[in-house]
């Protein structure tokens, strides 16, 4: 990937800057690599506030080579299984699928699609609970069940992916906070029903899979930066689920270590070059 096209955009927050940049480039979120250059600072009552600055680099066919070492065992090669498309259930909505090969990196969360009836109890009950919640929220959408590939020793979770024709981004929320709440309640109710921990993950139109691909790329690039600078590099604050992905992404790399610092919402991952 010698020829790179990248632009820098600013916005009130990272999400907004990203949206602006995508619009400028006329591409979808899967076509770019996002680098957060500057987090927004709110300042007191708008004084001394600073916009978010991000750089979007247009991805061409293949991901940069360095991703492969960083990804390690967690990232299988090959294409992700295309989502089971109930005929007519999903149009060409912007949250649904891409042509295979467009983002080979989505293999990070390779999934297998299951026919109805194959579902294990977790998925079956979870799907009913989630559908009931969505119905009560007056959200028109379908729930598709897939099984995530094993990324480590644990039993791979069932993915309950919410798909629909309308814009479902309201279910994701800022930094995925609404999605986290939806997953939390779905798990809680399902676990109570099953009387054991429900091994399910709730996603919206593959948002988490895509986010995971991006986090792998980000982690890898920041690790390179840390080693070339010879000093620790801090990533932007992330929720626990995302920090875990970053830690996992860099687990196999011997030239860096990772640790989290900060409290609550401000907790973030630091990538530290290994001392020699």
């Amino acid at each position: 990937m010698n020829v790179e096209e990248s632009i820098e955009v600013t916005g009130d927050d990272v999400e907004q800057a990203l949206a602006k940049g995508l619009e400028t480039l006329g591409v979808g979120p899967d076509d770019v690599m996002v680098e957060v250059l500057e987090e927004p600072a709110s300042g007191m009552f708008g004084l001394g506030s600073r916009p978010a600055r991000v750089r979007l680099r247009l991805l061409t066919a293949a991901p940069p080579p360095e991703m492969e070492d960083a990804s390690g065992a967690a990232v299988a090669t090959g294409e992700s299984a295309p989502a089971l498309q109930d005929s007519g259930s999903t149009g060409d909505g912007n949250v649904v699928d891409k042509a295979p090969g467009e983002l080979s990196f989505q293999a990070a969360m390779e999934t297998t699609t299951f026919e109805e009836g194959d579902f294990e109890e977790d998925a079956e009950v979870g799907k009913v609970v989630l559908a009931k919640l969505l119905e009560n929220m007056a959200v028109r959408a379908d729930v598709e069940v897939r099984r995530a590939e094993a990324t480590d020793e644990e039993e791979p979770p069932w993915m309950l992916d919410i798909v629909g024709e309308s814009d479902l981004s309201v279910l994701i929320g800022r930094k995925g906070e609404t999605l986290a709440s939806l997953q939390y309640i779905t798990r809680l109710v399902t676990s109570r029903e099953l009387q054991r921990r429900a091994n399910i993950v709730v996603d919206v139109g593959g948002y988490k899979s895509r986010r995971m691909s991006r986090l792998y790329a980000l982690a890898s690039r920041m690790a390179d930066q840390a080693t070339s600078l010879g000093r620790p590099v801090a990533l932007e604050p992330m929720p626990p689920y995302e920090r875990r992905i970053v830690h996992l992404a860099l687990r196999e790399r011997e030239d860096v270590t990772t640790e989290s610092s900060g409290e609550g919402q401000a907790r973030k991952v630091n990538i530290i070059p290994a001392s020699r």
């Binding site: 028109r140 379908d142 709440s181």
Partner: protein, 99 residues
């Protein structure tokens, strides 16, 4: 199991008005030991929509959660439901009271 398809068809035929009470009631009844004691009531003030949730005293912890985690998650879902119900403009502040 009632598959997503039937549910979906129902949704398309007649989209029922979002009932915030139903949402909270469903979640609360699914989490408590004594569903018969779950009461939900919606109250509208000038500036806010207030959802009052009452459960048996011994079930309070189940709908609030450690550090209010369950209650906060319910609030997040209420905001989504409310948005669909009212449209962005006249959306009011939404409050979940648990007692």
């Amino acid at each position: 199991m009632s598959g997503g398809r039937n549910w979906r068809q129902r949704q398309q035929q007649s989209r029922p008005p979002t009932n915030l009470e139903d949402l909270v009631g469903y979640i609360a009844k699914s989490l408590v030991n004594d569903p018969s004691q779950v009461r939900v009531r919606q109250r509208n003030t000038n500036s806010a929509t207030v959802i009052e949730l009452r459960v048996a005293p011994e079930d309070m912890g189940r709908v609030i959660g450690r550090e209010g985690r369950v209650a906060n998650a319910i609030r997040a879902l209420l905001r989504v439901a409310d948005r669909h119900q009212q449209g962005e403009r006249q959306r009011k502040h939404i409050i979940l009271e648990i007692s």
